[in-house]
């Protein structure tokens, strides 16, 4: 049984201007709204790293948000462990594109968010353990604005992992980071996954990210998005894009599929 199953998923937004203009008659077109996702069918196994690629604005984030329960599908359903997703839940932790840390809380308090029901002593131990895990020891009592971009991502990761979720959902987790920090955080996400083996869904627009991290790569088409490619990558880690010929061929294929030529 697969961990996450997406069945005939559709999403459209209502265009308010069109609805108000068309008043009573001819409501059929307006009620359909703007189609974002069109008939998406996917299955993810437990512990897989799934990287989702697609042209910008195609609905990648919308797909993630529906898996997380932040948005409701217009049609179809998302099943997690065979149960339909009805709303956000601590079993599926979302890592936000721009920091989801609460800026009025220190790193410590942010990590505490998911551990607040533990006994004080156990809570303290668990918070420290997860802060140490992402190498933010000694920075516990700083506020997010006092941290670098990379440290903020690590803090949010620690907060998410601390609740021991089944799934980590990351919306462009490396966007806005400089090149070296991007590489470093990517490496940490991979190492973290080796350690805890959570099902991890990552939306990215970086093809190399997908090739380095993914057990499975999904390519969505432009809006309304359909699944253009679903490919399992049966390579071990660490992966070296410079040496692995198959990965490099796949990279060319992905560049072509996303409408850009790799060699300019």
């Amino acid at each position: 049984m697969s961990h996450i199953k997406i069945k005939n998923l559709q999403k459209s937004y209502i265009d308010r201007r069109r609805v108000s203009r068309s008043k009573t008659k001819d409501n059929s077109k307006a009620s359909q709204g703007i189609a974002i996702l069109n008939d998406i069918n996917l299955e993810f196994e437990k512990g897989e790293v799934v990287c989702i690629l697609g042209p910008s604005g195609c609905g990648k984030s919308t797909l993630l948000r529906m898996i997380a329960g932040f948005e409701k599908p217009s049609a179809g359903e998302v099943l997690v462990n065979n149960k339909p997703v009805t709303g956000p839940h601590a079993d599926s932790i979302f890592v936000f594109q721009h920091s989801g840390l609460l800026p009025w809380m220190t790193v410590w308090e942010n990590v505490e968010l998911g551990l607040r029901h533990l006994e004080p002593v156990a809570r303290k131990v668990a918070i420290q353990e997860h802060i140490d895990l992402v190498e933010l020891t000694r920075f516990e009592h700083l506020y997010p604005y006092q941290l670098s971009g990379g440290m903020q991502r690590r803090a949010e990761l620690a907060r998410g992992i601390a609740v021991n979720p089944d799934t980590l959902i990351m919306d462009e987790p490396f966007s806005g980071l400089d090149f070296l920090t991007h590489m470093k955080i990517r490496e940490e996400v991979v190492n973290m996954h080796e350690l805890i083996k959570k099902t991890t869904l990552i939306v990215t627009h970086d093809i190399d990210d997908a090739l380095i991290m993914g057990d499975k790569i999904i390519v969505l088409s432009g809006r309304p998005a359909t699944v253009k490619l679903e490919k399992n990558l049966n390579f071990g880690r660490p992966r070296n894009l410079a040496e692995n010929l198959e990965l490099r061929e796949l990279r060319d294929e992905l560049f072509f599929m996303l409408g850009v030529s790799y060699a300019v």
């Binding site: 997380a68 329960g69 932040f70 709303g87 956000p88 839940h89 601590a90 599926s92 932790i93 979302f94 936000f96 721009h98 989801g100 609460l102 800026p103 009025w104 809380m105 968010l113 998911g114 506020y143 997010p144 604005y145 609740v163």
Partner: protein, 253 residues
Amino acid sequence: MLNQKIILPIISFSVLLLIWELVTRFSGWSQQVFPSPLMVLISFQELIVNGELLKHAVASLFRVSIGFFLAVILGIPLGIILGRIKIVHLLLNALIQFLRPISPLAWIPLAMLWFGIGDVPAIFLIFLSSFFPMVVSTSVAVEAIKPTFFQVAANFNLSRYEILTKIVIPAITPQVITALRISITIAWLVVVAAEMIAVQSGLGYMILDSRNALRMDYVMVGMIAIGIIGLALDFIMQSLSQIESTAWGRFTK
């Protein structure tokens, strides 16, 4: 940098004093009409020594404290409710926007009729003057909270009560502190006006009473005292934003 912070205001105050001194010397007005800085200083000392100034200042501060306190403890919760519950917003927002532009001073006749002469009408006016800014600023701040924070709350299964205490209240605190600064200034403006009409004590009364006695030096002492206390009130409110757990507001957009 610190030196500049101290020296530059001293320069501007000195220039004001100098202009004041020159005007009193060369305008041809008598000291009774336009007292000189020195004369006002002597009167200032006189009113401090005989306790008059302190008595009136305390009376004004008392009214402002009560009125402002009531406005804050009622205005912030109402603002939060307006910002969070759409139906209440639709129900009350137009009403509040209708009442808000009516100057508290326009309420003076009714306030005196309802509450008589004394502290109560003055407190009522101060309450009105700061209540609406508090409500409106708070509800605007609540509406401006980033949806991401509520999604984080839902993701970590926060209860309604926890959403209030861990998300809404801390998120609006920087804007609420700004609103407190603005409201206390308005309240302080209004107390003087209210005291000129409805009561027999306070700095506003002192100014009016001195005018009737043709003591313009006392009038100016009253004005200066109002300015100094206003400066101090703003400083107190501003220092709230230096508290560590609210400092993020100055760095996070």
